[in-house]
């Protein structure tokens, strides 16, 4: 299995297989050129062989020169193919978006239902990871005005999807740990997201020059019910967050940062899985802190417009339906550095969606750390520079919802 990297300021789509083939071809061309020089040296020597050996050497030299030329040309064509592939992908994406908008909500829902039925017929219960279903889901998300839908649902009696104030409490004593090293560490440091457990991890880095940098990790959805209870990492936060509102989980994560000692103006690197990606994206787009990079795994945030210049690394499994719930990127050229692959074997988890499980995304992160794609190499350099190689002080935090009538625990802060 090989990761596919796209976007990040370039339209090229390159797989590790392409990069490897191009590297080999460039070396092949160089070596063939050297061999040509060596053979030519024999032919040009004072005591060069004459007759048939000379004719044969001339043939070998000609073939070597042609080999160097052809290998170099093929390497260049691979570059062009990667770029063309990128443009085709963008064009298909634009067509999908256009069709979804033209079709409107009802046909898109029909499409999703049809895809679901077709997938069920083919794969039994394993329908959520079917690419056709995932694609239909993205079209559906594109065609629905989520903020409008949210307002309608919230107007209904029963408290469905109603936001509440939140509070946070520190769940662990400060502890010194080594700096994270690459995407694998970022993935594995995201809190597991279990009922009653901390949902936020905050790391403080004190750099040599006295500057302080912060990393905030957010768990994925813990409570899947539509009516909020005490858990802010719930479906209310999912819907409100994707609709661009102030989700309880996002407010809890910012409160955790503040209580850990973060001061406005100090850089923050937000990281999250699933709903944690919504939280991370909300922090990155809120303007509360300078954010050099945003890292999300399996997050439904493609449709969120991020700050220009932000290095937005989005990791999506092609058979994970959750990222599709975020719809398509707002602009034709996806500004995100998008890393995709089919989910590696991840084991059960994540609400019965194996392709969405963090264990699988952690395996993809290992491939990202091994990748020689220049965009990922640059991203890893940015990560290293962010920590300055210093040890981190870690604290864990637990957020809770406070009933709206329950006093001064915080502000719902809008929808």
């Amino acid at each position: 299995m090989s990761i596919e990297v796209s976007g990040g300021g370039s339209v090229a789509v390159e797989t590790e297989a392409m990069l490897e083939a191009r590297r080999d071809l460039i070396e092949l061309a160089d070596r063939a050129d050297e061999a040509y020089g060596q053979i030519h040296g024999v032919l040009d020597a004072a005591q060069a062989p004459a007759g048939p050996p000379a004719w044969l050497l001339a043939i070998a030299a000609r073939e070597m020169r042609a080999l160097a030329r052809d290998a170099d040309a093929l390497a260049r064509e691979l570059d062009a193919a990667a770029e063309a592939y990128g443009w085709v992908e963008r064009a298909l994406l634009a067509r999908d978006q256009l069709l979804a908008h033209l079709a409107g909500p009802a046909p898109a829902i029909d499409d999703a239902a049809t895809a679901l039925a077709a997938s069920a017929a083919r794969h039994g219960a394993n329908v959520a990871g079917d690419p056709q279903f995932v694609r239909a889901l993205r079209e559906l998300a594109d065609s629905v005005s989520l903020p409008g839908l949210l307002l309608m649902v919230q107007a209904l009696p029963g408290g469905v999807l109603d936001e509440t104030p939140v509070t946070v409490t520190q769940a662990s004593a400060p502890q010194a740990v080594p700096a994270f090293d690459g995407f694998t560490d970022l993935a594995t440091r995201i809190p597991a997201g279990k009922p009653g457990k901390p949902q936020v991890r905050v790391e403080k880095y004190e750099l040599a020059g006295g500057e302080r940098h912060w990393v905030v990790y957010s768990a994925g959805t813990i409570d899947w019910s539509l009516v909020p209870s005490s858990e802010p990492w719930d479906d209310t936060s999912n819907v409100v967050g994707v609709a661009g509102g102030s989700a309880g989980s996002s407010r809890a994560a910012v409160q955790a940062l503040e209580q850990a000692g973060w001061k406005p103006g100090e850089p923050v690197l937000p990281v999250g899985h699933s709903q944690g990606g919504i939280v991370a994206t909300a922090i990155a787009t809120s303007g509360v802190a300078p954010v050099p990079m945003l890292v999300t795994f399996g997050s439904p945030t493609a449709g969120v417009r991020t700050t220009p210049g932000l290095l937005d690394v989005a990791v999506e499994h092609t058979d994970d339906p959750v990222p599709a719930l975020g719809g398509s990127p707002r602009s034709l050229v996806d500004p995100r550095l998008l890393v995709r692959e089919a989910a590696p074997a991840a084991g059960p988890g994540a609400g019965g969606l194996p392709a969405h499980a963090m264990t699988g995304y952690a395996k993809t992160a290992i491939e990202m750390d091994r990748s020689t794609d220049p965009r990922l190499v640059n991203a890893r350099t940015t990560l290293t520079e962010f920590t300055g190689g210093q040890k981190a002080t870690v604290t864990m935090w637990r957020g809770e919802r406070v009933p709206a009538t329950g006093g001064p625990g915080g502000s719902a802060g809008g929808r």
């Binding site: 090989s2 797989t15 297989a17 392409m18 490897e20 083939a21 080999d24 071809l25 070396e27 092949l28 070596r31 063939a32 050297e34 061999a35 060596q38 053979i39 040296g41 024999v42 020597a45 005591q47 060069a48 062989p49 007759g51 048939p52 050996p53 000379a54 044969l56 050497l57 043939i59 070998a60 073939e63 070597m64 042609a66 080999l67 052809d70 290998a71 093929l74 193919a81």
Partner: protein, 73 residues
């Protein structure tokens, strides 16, 4: 016109032969550097495979010519 002694001619041939063997060893390295046809699907993979086959044929032609030249020395 210079005339080589029998020993000098044998030494020259040995030097040329050493150069040819080095070039033949390079051919083995070139075979190894030929990329495998990747798992891309459809026409792109097929076309890439054809281009690689052309490169392989050039390495083979050069290798065979070098071996024949060495034998003919």
């Amino acid at each position: 016109m210079s005339v080589l002694s029998v020993d000098e001619a044998a030494t020259e041939r040995a030097a040329v032969r050493a150069h040819l063997r080095a070039a033949e060893a390079d051919c083995l390295l070139l075979y190894r550097l030929l990329p495998a046809v990747p798992g891309w699907s459809g026409a792109a993979s097929w076309a890439f495979g054809l281009r690689l086959a052309e490169l392989r044929a050039r390495v083979a032609a050069a290798h065979a010519a070098l071996a024949a030249a060495e034998a003919a020395l």
